[in-house]
Structures are given as structure tokens and as C-alpha cells.
Symmetry: C2
Subunit: 305 residues, 2 copies
Amino acid sequence: MDAIAYLLGIDGGGTKTLVRLTSPQGQVLAQASGPGSALRIGAAQAWRVIGQTIDAAFAGAGLQRPADETLAVGIGIAGENVAQWSADFRAQAPAFGVLEIVNDGVATLLGAHGGAPGAIIAVGTGTIGLSLDLDGSRRVVDGWGFPSGDDGSGGWMGLRALHHAQLALDGRSHRGPLADAVLELCRSELPAEPARDERATLLDWLAQADQAAFARAARPVVAHAHDDVAARNILQAAAAEISRMIDTLDPAQCLPLALCGGLAAALQPYLERRQQARIVPPQADAVDGALLLVRRALQPKETPA
Amino acid sequence: MDAIAYLLGIDGGGTKTLVRLTSPQGQVLAQASGPGSALRIGAAQAWRVIGQTIDAAFAGAGLQRPADETLAVGIGIAGENVAQWSADFRAQAPAFGVLEIVNDGVATLLGAHGGAPGAIIAVGTGTIGLSLDLDGSRRVVDGWGFPSGDDGSGGWMGLRALHHAQLALDGRSHRGPLADAVLELCRSELPAEPARDERATLLDWLAQADQAAFARAARPVVAHAHDDVAARNILQAAAAEISRMIDTLDPAQCLPLALCGGLAAALQPYLERRQQARIVPPQADAVDGALLLVRRALQPKETPA
């Protein structure tokens, strides 16, 4: 194991890939981010994004990237819970000296509580809740993916924002600032030509929209919670889903609970007061959780007590 | 135009393609069905399915398929309302003697009321509502597609059935007959190997599920409306969406209204009583609507009165 030159922690989400490069002693040398690498995009494409983001981290540190065998890599990646995707991803892995792969939610849990018992809800492009109980038992809620699951996530909110815009456009509900903002988002993401009416704008955008695209449509929901009742209803409904996950993960209400991910701050004020009072800030992020896995893998095996 | 040997009416839906072959005088010679040809699958694949189903219709009539130039073809096809999909589909069309292409909802409207004023809700894999008013004005509701729209459709119900199964599996809600039936459906549609636990069964099925797959999951919803409260809630919510469409299409409540598509019969009992009382049976189906278009195109042009 003394051939390991660098540790790499990687968080592969639906929208963003984050790589942190450290020395074997844990000193952070550089960090880089790239586009999403959730396994839904396919193992080959996920590895391409991860490889390029690793390159960017070494470049950022002003270092030559060494042979794969000298790298110890921990990856928390979205979609790892789908058996086929996980098998494809592992089969196509480079020959790293050490490689630990877990679901991105597991990496978030490890980072948030330093590997100790606790619960997390990670709510970003998708949603998953995980807990490690005092007796070592684990629970998981959601993480079912888009479009049927990932309740309360960016993709989930964006799906509802688009639905609201659809109702507003064809006269089934009142048209307010949220519908206008959703249309503007769609317009901004389409090629300028040809000129389209509003219905065609939505239809053309929807025809190519994936989970990440819907997650972008969560931004107008958050932005208009103060001046659009439909937006506020979507945020409140998302928070209600998160509340239900918290109660399912930790019925005894005794574990430290961290709310993680890009939408945590927007959702927290809408949670039930008793739940808000329990929330602790995460000790570290999913990248650090992935690095924790790597350090564990590098430790000499101890005989269990 | 005297070179036209046969008329063909085609209904291209998300799950099924229906072709009816008639003589120039309208005598039905044969009918054939194939898999879905909704434009979401791509223009080339849609034309492939349509071509094969046309072949099957000629074979069923015991006829040699003649040159494309001698065929007059009317097509109502799902996804025609997406500009790019429609353009691709038209660009790749065979050189039929006559070719009329409309959205499948338009063909359903034409068939249901023989081209006269009226309203329809077509609810199958997707949902669209259309009306032609007495003054010639037209309205459309929904038809926004999966997963954000097509409210009340098979895809819409199936999405909610899967969501319910997810909640039941991770302990967020009660597990009843619907969740069991959804799991059984997923298990039956996956390769027998490898053996999977219930969570993996759902995740593997979800990882490859498209709109048509979710629409298949509407069947357990209908089947368990009598013995599962979650199933009944989904059906009732679907009917509430259909009710809202009816009121938006025809606020004056004066048009004949036909409820069409594979889920019409299951939803009708859940509509508001005042709406049920207005429903008339469709005069004919979307294939006949497409044939009506063809006959109109073949008629000598009249000077408008």
C-alpha cells in the first residue's frame, strides 16, 4: 500500500461531479467539478466525466496525473443502487490502486456524521434518506429515482413546476409569476430559432427534458415561493415529503439529523418545527465521506473486538 | 386522383398502432395492429412500425401491397404536437399518393363526432382533450406528454402506482394489494435471473421504464380500486383531472362530449354526475377520423360559400 501517491474523493450527482484530491495524509491539494455523472447516463459516460474531472483536479494542483495504480479512489455515485448500472460501472472501472464505490447517499451519510450513527436526507437533483442507528442497523427511504420517486427533490419540484405551467397555459389554472418564470427558463434553454409560441416552447423543451433539466426548473419554484401560491404549494409539499422521510428513518427521534444537498436550505424553513429543532449541520460533505471510505480501506485490518 | 387504389386510416398511439384498409369507396377490407408508434420513439422507428402494420393489413386482406403512390393515407399520431418530431416524421414519409398527418387527438375528435362540433377526452397511454365549438373555434387541454403531463392517463396512473409501491416498500405507507400487484408486474417484466429482492426488483424495472411501461402499471390500479384505498385514490384523482379538462374544454356545457381511449370505461364511473350525464358514445374511432381526413383531401375542392 505504500505505492499510493494520492487519495481522491468523488461525489457523482445528477447535476455535478465533485473531485477532491488529497495527499496520503489527507491534506487537500485541489478540488475540481464537472457535469453530472449519475449512472443513468451510462457507465462509459460516467467514467468519462469522472476521468476528466480527476484530470482537472491534478491540473488545478499543478501536478502530473500519475499512473492509476498509485491512486486510491472513493466514489459516492447516484444510481449505484440500480444493480445493472452498478455492475456496468464496476466492470468498466480503471485499475486504481484502491477503489471504493458506494451510493452517493451513503457517502453523504458517512461525511455528515463522520461515520458515526446518524441520519441524513440528501435533497438535490434526487432525494435519498439514510440512517445508521446506534445498534448498527441501517434504513433507507426513497432514492427510487426520477420520475416516480426522489420525492421533494429538484427533479420532483421541477416536474410540478412544469405541470403548473401546463395548466396555466391551457386554461386549467391561474397564470402567475411561476408559470412565466418556467416559460422563460424553457425559452432560454432552446435554440433561438425557430420562433415558437408558448405551447410549442413548452412542448419542445419537454421533448428533450431529462431529470437534470427538470431539476433546473426547481429554481423558479424557490425564487417565487414568496409571490406565487403555486410555487409555495410545491415547496410546502416537498417539505412534507421530507418530513415523512425523517419520521420513517428515525421513528424514535434520537439520531442526529443532517439535511444535505443543494435544496436543503430552501426546504428547511418549511419543515415541522420539532424536526427543524433536531437538525445538525453536516460535519463534512459526500466527498469527505468518500475519502473516509478510502482511508478505511487503506487501514491495516483489525481483528474485530 | 383516379390512381388511388386504397385508403388507409392509421392511429399511432403510445402502446398500439391500428391500421384500417378500405377501398376507395370506403369498404373495409382489413385491419391490423402493431406496437406503439408515438413519435417519442423517433420518426424512423415510427415509420418502420407503421410500414409493417400496413403490410400486415394488406396481407390480412389477401392483397399484394401496391406502389405507395396509389395509397391515400391518413395518420393520427401521438407526439405530432412536438414541432421537431412532426418535422422529422413528415420529412421521412414515403411517397404516398395522398398523406394527411394530424395529432392522434385530432383524429379521435374527427371520428367521435363525424367532423361535427363536439368535445373529446382521449385517455389511454397519454391524455389529450380537444373541442371544436359551434363557431368553429378549437380548444386543447393537456397532451403535454409524459412524465409532467397527460393527467389521468395510463402513464400518469402508473407513475402514481409505482410511487405508492415505493412508499410501501420503504415503510412510508401501508402495504396493500396494489403494492403487491405492482411488484408482481415488475417481477414479470424482468428477466428471471438474477434473483432480486423487492427493492432491487422495483429499481431494476424503474431503470428501464418508459411511458408505455408506466401505462401498463395502470392495470393494477383499475383492478384493485375495489380492495385497495391507494388504488381507489389514484383512480379518483385521475377522474378529477378529467373533470377539470371537461370544464375547461366546454365551459358552456353545450357540446356533445365523448370519452375515448383505453381507460375511458374505467374512469367514467368516477366523473361528476353532471358530466356523466352529458357523455355520448363516440360515433367512430380515431382510425375512422383519419379516414375522414383522407376522404376530405380526395374531394374536389369547393368554393367556400
